[in-house]
Amino acid sequence: MTVVVPYGDTAGDAMVQLSFTLPVPPDARAREVGMQFLRNNGFLEPQVVHVAAADRDMTFYVAYAKAPMGVDPEEVTETEVEAPRLTFAEINALIERELGRPLVVLGAAIESDAHTVGIDAIMNMKGFAGDYGLERYPWIDAVNLGAQVPCERLVREAQERRADAILVSQVVTQKQVHARQLTKLVDLLEAEGLRQRYILVAGGPRLSNTFAKELGYDAGFGPGSTPSTVAAWIAQELVKRIRTEG
């Protein structure tokens, strides 16, 4: 077991950087209030390096402290989707060879989510960060339903278009609403007995693979995911399923 602690400028110094706001007036006691807050939370040797008024009775802090606990990396399981990275050409070749027909991917931002940024970044021709979107893959039939798609419509479209994979984007993060909406889709698919028919993938800034799996998805892609990572995983997962099903 090797426990590691944060590295500031010396091995083992355990230094972390924090910023936070407390609902206290920015008066003469404010700095000590911030220090005590950090001590109460178990941080050691806190240093408040910046105190500023964020409003009449709000104080903003920047602070450094030693973190009391380390972490053993061996005890942690991965949260990111694990699949070999493949290039645009390799993904197309894999689908052509193993499936012999275009892979059908349906994408949407569901329910109240009006943000197409996430789903567009993965689906649109132009893609994201220089990585082409799924629409540009000759062996992927990518259908982007856009934003505010009711779960009921998404399920209907998936059946009509004989989708292999459903890609759901959730950008809105307020008050855990993204989780409720993602769960709704899973519930609906299960109620209709369709859950096993599709590779179900969620993506969004508040999503990790672990969290998506907890919600009943096959995979989750968090911030910074590129179209080719998503495409490579879906293609390999589908191939795996076809092989195991014989």
């Binding site: 964020a54 009006a114 197409t116 940024v117 505010q148 609403v177 910074g224």
Partner: protein, 517 residues
């Protein structure tokens, strides 16, 4: 800092934009919509909801049924004359299933009453405008760029509290973000609301509540603080009316946003934008257009000309609706890809180009969002660059970049940090605008020249086929929208020969004069 632009091209662009806008306005003048008629009902003083929570303006206009094309003003006025009741009482009785909308013949008294109610509605708007004029005269205007921040807690009481905090921290303009799904509601929710997704609803009561909260701070700070909301979606004119009655100062009010980005029917949107803009014009409200959205779907270095072309069209449509240039806040955005060499120069060129093309317009400059990640330190430094270009090119309204963009709705402290950064950059770099000169024929001027040429080329194509066809072709934002597709077409009707709207009677003859102000 001035660019040497091809005057022939700029003049052609203004001319083309006028030619594109006029048929759209002609179309609007031949039609009405449920939202326009509900606006008439609202401005006649009707407010509230029925037992099922349906807003009374909807109840009244729905009662017109297939007679939408006649307009609601005369039937409603006739009921008032016949029963001796106020529009509010008549609306309540229709909601209770008692009143029925009269036949198509209207008495002279009904005509007179409709005209008088319109004059009264107009006076209420004028009164709020005068109030603002007086406050601005008393406190003066802040230096530009104005610091514009958003609040988006989803609870209007929390929004009001954060709006006050932002104003105290130095914000000049506060936008209360509304719930993401509101664009698609064919009614304006009622009352003070404490829920929503990514924001809470735009309602007249919410407008009033935040306006009052800000007015408290205005007095405390000795500085006028502007309030913004969204007159977009399926209820453009109604929300404009609510804003006009509660002294909002700015409204997001794009002519095409709903069509392209919310799949609202083009016919519906073009009718609604015309009347909503007329109200904003009358109310002295600065409209903000939404060209930043073009850049969230396409890279900035490829889509710059679509932004500028849309600026020309939005301006022309606003002028046609009676909005003077000083109230046309044309939009654009700092959506550079920071990892692409030379992007800051290219963005500087476009920001300067737009500034120079529309010198009379209070330009609204939007912050980076597309290339922003969870690396808040990187976002903060991008925001600083954005602030530098904003002040150096003389932008008017700067929607501040927030370091936690793409992470969560802004924390109280995120907003404070944004305001501090903007102030620092603006105060220290303001003299740059009059100190720098682009190298004649150098990369910056060349870049601006290319964008201008591409803009004129796009405008020529649009003028050739007309706006509806251009949208159907997907020439704006790569998003094709059919004239008979999208949401809300069922709420559009051709005007009958006997169509009457006393507000249009009152305002339309004055639009040219307003726009020239």
């Amino acid at each position: 800092m001035k660019l040497d632009l091809d005057r022939g091209l700029t003049e052609e662009a203004f001319d083309l934009a006028g030619r594109i806008a006029r048929p759209v306005v002609e179309f609007a003048k031949g039609h009405t919509t449920v939202a326009i008629e509900r606006t008439v009902v609202r401005l006649f003083g009707v407010d509230g909801v029925d037992d099922l929570g349906v807003p009374l303006p909807n109840v009244v206009v729905d009662a017109l049924g297939p007679r939408l094309g006649e307009g609601v003003a005369l039937p409603l006025a006739q009921l008032c004359v016949d029963t001796g009741r106020s529009p509010q009482q008549v609306a309540e009785s229709i909601a209770a299933g008692e009143g029925e909308v009269s036949e198509s013949r209207h008495s002279a008294e009904a005509w007179e009453l409709a005209a008088r109610l319109a004059v009264e509605g107009d006076a209420r708007i004028a009164e709020r405008r005068a109030e603002r004029d007086e406050l601005v005269a008393r406190y003066g205007d802040p230096p530009t760029p104005w610091l514009y921040v958003i609040v988006a807690t989803g609870n209007i009481h929390e929004d009001a509290r954060q709006a006050q905090a932002a104003a105290r921290a130095g914000a000049d303009v506060i936008a209360v973000i509304r719930s993401t799904a509101q664009s698609l509601l064919d009614y304006v929710p009622y009352g003070e609301t404490t829920e929503g997704f990514g924001g809470t609803y735009a309602t007249q009561a919410n407008f009033r509540l935040v306006r009052a909260a800000l007015d408290e701070v205005v007095e405390e700070l000795g500085r006028y603080v502007r309030l913004t909301n969204y007159a977009s979606g399926l209820c453009m004119p109604e929300i404009a009316a609510c804003g006009a009655l509660e002294r909002l100062d700015m409204m997001l009010n794009d002519s095409m946003y709903g069509i392209l980005f919310r799949d609202i029917n083009p016919q519906r949107t073009f009718c609604d934008q015309y009347v909503s803009r007329m109200i904003n014009g009358r109310a002295g409200i600065v409209i903000n257009t939404g060209e930043d959205n073009y850049l969230t779907t396409a890279p900035g270095h490829e889509a710059g000309h679509t932004v500028v072309a849309s600026n020309f069209v939005n301006r022309a449509l606003a002028l046609e609706a009676g909005i003077p240039e000083c109230q046309i806040g044309l939009g654009h955005a700092f959506e550079i890809d920071p990892d692409r060499p030379g992007q800051l120069m290219e963005e500087w060129a476009i920001a300067l180009l737009i500034r120079q093309l529309f010198p009379g317009c209070p330009l609204k400059y939007m912050p980076p969002t597309k290339h922003v990640t969870g690396d808040i330190f990187r976002t903060q430094s991008l925001g600083t660059l954005f602030n530098l270009i904003g002040v150096a090119t003389g932008q008017h309204i700067q929607l501040l970049s927030i370091l936690t963009e793409a992470v969560h709705t802004p924390f109280l402290s995120d907003r404070m940090l944004a305001i501090q950064d903007a102030r620092r950059v603006f105060d220290s770099a303001r003299p740059l605008r009059d100190s720098l000169q682009a190298v004649p024929g150098g990369p910056l001027e060349q870049r601006a020249g290319v964008v201008l040429r591409d803009t004129v080329e796009l405008l020529r194509q649009v003028a050739g086929v007309g706006m509806f066809a251009a949208i159907e072709q997907g020439w704006f934002a790569d998003t094709p929208r059919r004239a008979d597709g999208g949401r809300g077409l069922e709420g559009v009707a051709e005007r009958d020969p006997g169509y009457h709207n006393p507000f249009l009677e009152l305002w339309e003859p004055q639009l040219r004069r307003w726009a020239a102000a």
